[in-house]
Symmetry: C2
Subunit: 502 residues, 2 copies
């Protein structure tokens, strides 16, 4: 067999899948940013139709034949070829297990649920969202039935976002993480340090916020000729290849950091996608390695870089050009205000330390929902109970409680752990980066993020999904996933801010 | 045969064609409003892929079978059923004549030409656009070969936009129109009336222009919950059904009328699409009857309403809330400035009187291009020569000359005449409207456009393409297409403004 020639044919076919996927991505992006409200029902039908086409292409006899013809030659293939075949086969096998009509129905239910969620969140109306959420959960449970599971049902969902991850492993890692955070948090509670965050509140013209966000994105190396920044209820990143990467954020007039750190976070996702090598086009490998690796990049930019002493010092100087009240603020005050630890309701606005507790709450609730241990009637009170227990705060409404996140309406069960894993991966990568580039934080303090950008591109981004998450972490850091670097990083940073002796 | 049941099946299939078309429309809209510049090549491939799917659906054996099964029962069908079948058959027959690979290649060439045109226009670089335009023209000529033609090759293109229209008929109508306009223009040249348009120039904050545009759209009855207003190089309207209708305009800081009248024009298109009856969903009849009928609505709102004494008086009062300099302007000055006759380069900014001469120039050039009588090397000089001859002005660059319109890059040969036909249809419809609703202009002068909106909805819009253009004009006005009402309207209006005795 002429492997080169055969793979040209395969890439032609995968190219078609990519173009169709681009259309679906755009239709979905538009639904969440631009679509007039009355178009919701017709839009859901468009998504159903396109998804049915994608289903057919993913499970066609053509794909089956490719797999059968190529499988005997795995040993003769280049790495890209072998991984291309593996991805094709994985998608084929996973999709084949789901009946086409159920798949399409799930797409319609999900897009309707997202529209309903937006309205429910705005109107603090959990009851109107509940039947939609029920449908989405029922589909998830039904699909687990088709895919099968080992041990916990939730394992099948975890595996979708982080291959090989299980409840057993995650319970252990999250247990260590929770203990580490709780220990730091208790020490902080005893500290007498007072941090004033009022300097970040006030009146911040949203068009100036937008200009600042765009300026920071460019500093980060996000290419605005191959991407955009828009507005949506819940910030997100989506892309059509590496030359059309779209971020969203959400400006609040009375608040300085919310839109800014959303932009930096989504910018981290965006840079990752833009940096994936052109060589991976039409292979099915031209997207991030996993959602946790993705979150390791976004949360790295948001927190390890974005909330560092060096970067916030640079940011303060820059922000003074947009908001002159910052002339009255010192870099120490600015840094501390951005890192004040204060348990709160909203995940996306949580401080870096308590953030992972929000994730652990969602992880535990998802496990219970998927295993049928709690009902949707119980969900809001279970949510509030866990917030009380883990964070010591009780949400004052469902809008700032169980309705705050887009993920469940989008059927992203199994995704949330990626954020916390991203924190762990990010700290591991940071540890290596500091060894290889000891001067990096000084550069960042000067607003020069170019070396950071190229180091991440060369070590992580450009490979797309050519390597598995485990392989990437092993290649970059020489170690497997663990929580020690992140906990140490948190201790160093927060004991310093709160004047606590280690 | 159970016709009802069969048509349910047909509508299910046409629904799928509609959803796919919605995706194509959105991908194209996004390309012209939002797409990052580097994504052009990949976007063209997406359009090629989706268009190939649409080609397959339009020419499938399923469609052939529907046609064969249903054709014997035409006499038993309702009007909607018969017209649904006719449209399905027409699309099938037209598309079948084109080889699939040539169709798809033409879609790619067209989307690349549009991207190249935008850049060429901006950089006044006709040479860079020429090869793209050549490809688009070659495809048009090639397709005429597949479709066949009677008499003039250009007839085939005219027929696409206005069924049954021929060069022979159009030469006659346009001849009368040109003579009428030239006569009026010569009289105006002799007039001593001086009109000052400087009041419409100055510094007009674009965000205020946008607010005013949105306000006018709402007055017109355009539903912003079922539509949007965005920005693009060349204003256009597109839609995905009647609940997602998208207009664009283009704000110029130093100029008051350009964006405003673009908005009103596109608003006329938009209202038409929004008003099409829900009953026509999934029939293939749920879009405007023809481009000329469409332009009759947009140009009606833009000129007959938008530039009328009554409306401009209302508009002046409204505009004073946004731009206080208008407090110094009288309603007479405002009205006259908006209707000053002054031959110029740019079609979209032309006065109502000379506008049709711009169209006649394009019509004549298109006929020559399609018949191979002039080459693309000659095109810019031919363009300029005709502007000199018909309008007495010579474009100072290709940007304000041959590169000004998006249409040719979008392969819309045969479309331009629709604008002038729209003027004629519009004046015919206006004549009837005034008889039926003698008080209508007074209402409009009070900013009340509701009765206008509902009269157009009931008489024209709601039928979509259920009737042919000729049927609609006959139903509404009792006459067929003619130029007399438009010429009389122009004489009345402009002789009055320029104090000329009839």
């Amino acid at each position: 067999m002429d492997l080169e020639k055969k793979f040209e044919e395969v890439k032609g076919y995968i190219g078609q899948i990519e173009y169709l996927t681009h259309a679906i991505v755009l239709v979905d992006w538009d639904m969440r940013t631009n679509m007039p409200v009355k178009a919701g029902e017709s839009r859901s039908k468009v998504l159903e139709y396109l998804s049915s086409q994608l289903f057919d292409m993913t499970t066609s006899t053509k794909v089956k034949t490719f797999i059968e013809e190529l499988s005997p030659y795995k040993d003769n293939m280049s790495l890209v070829q072998r991984r291309t075949l593996e991805e094709l086969e994985k998608n084929y096998n996973e999709t084949m297990k789901i009946p086409a009509d159920r798949y399409i129905a799930s797409v319609g239910a999900t897009s309707r649920a997202q529209i309903a969620w937006e309205k429910a969140k705005e109107e603090n109306d959990y009851e109107s969202f509940k039947p939609h959420l029920q449908k989405v959960i029922d589909f998830s449970r039904e699909f687990i039935g088709y895919w099968g599971y080992e041990g916990d049902k939730y394992n099948t969902l975890l595996d979708k976002y982080e291959r090989g991850l299980t409840v057993e492993k995650l319970d252990k890692v999250f247990g260590e993480l929770r203990d580490g955070i709780v220990e730091i948090l208790e020490n902080i509670k005893k500290s007498e340090k007072i941090i004033d965050t009022n300097i970040l509140k006030g009146n911040f013209d949203t068009s100036k916020q937008k200009d600042l966000s765009l300026c920071i994105l460019q500093k980060m190396g996000f290419d605005l000729e191959a991407g955009r920044l828009d507005v949506s209820v819940h910030p997100f990143t989506t892309n059509m290849g590496n030359k059309d990467v779209r971020l969203t954020t959400n400006y609040h007039k009375d608040e300085f950091t919310s839109a800014l750190f959303s932009t930096i976070h989504e910018g981290g996702h965006g840079i990752y996608e833009q940096n994936i090598s052109d060589d991976l086009e039409n292979t099915g490998l031209n997207s991030g390695a996993s959602m946790a690796i993705h979150e390791s990049q976004s949360r790295f930019y948001e927190n390890i870089v974005g909330r560092s002493k060096d970067f916030t010092t640079y940011l303060l100087n820059l922000s003074r050009k947009y908001f002159e009240d910052f002339n009255k603020v010192s870099s120490e005050e600015f840094y501390e205000a951005m890192n004040k630890v204060e348990p709160s309701f909203i995940r996306t606005e949580a401080d870096e330390l308590t953030y992972s507790l929000h994730i652990i709450i969602r992880y535990e609730l998802e496990k219970d929902l998927i295993n049928g241990r709690i009902s949707l009637d119980q969900l809001p009170s279970e949510w509030n109970k866990k917030y009380k227990e883990y964070l010591g705060v009780e949400p004052t409404s469902n809008t700032v409680g169980v309705l705050q996140d887009v993920h469940w309406s989008a059927s992203l069960f199994g995704y949330f752990p990626s954020y916390a894993l991203g924190n762990l991966y990010g700290a591991q990568i940071y540890n290596t980066l500091l060894k290889e580039k000891p001067e990096i934080m000084k550069e960042i303090g000067e607003g020069n993020l170019r070396n950071l950008h190229s180091w991440l591109k060369e070590n992580v981004h450009k490979f797309g999904s050519l390597y598995t998450p485990a392989e990437i972490i092993e290649r970059v850091t020489g170690e497997e996933l663990n929580s020690k670097y992140f906990i140490n990083y948190l201790k160093d940073k927060y004991y310093n801010i709160y004047n606590i002796n280690k």
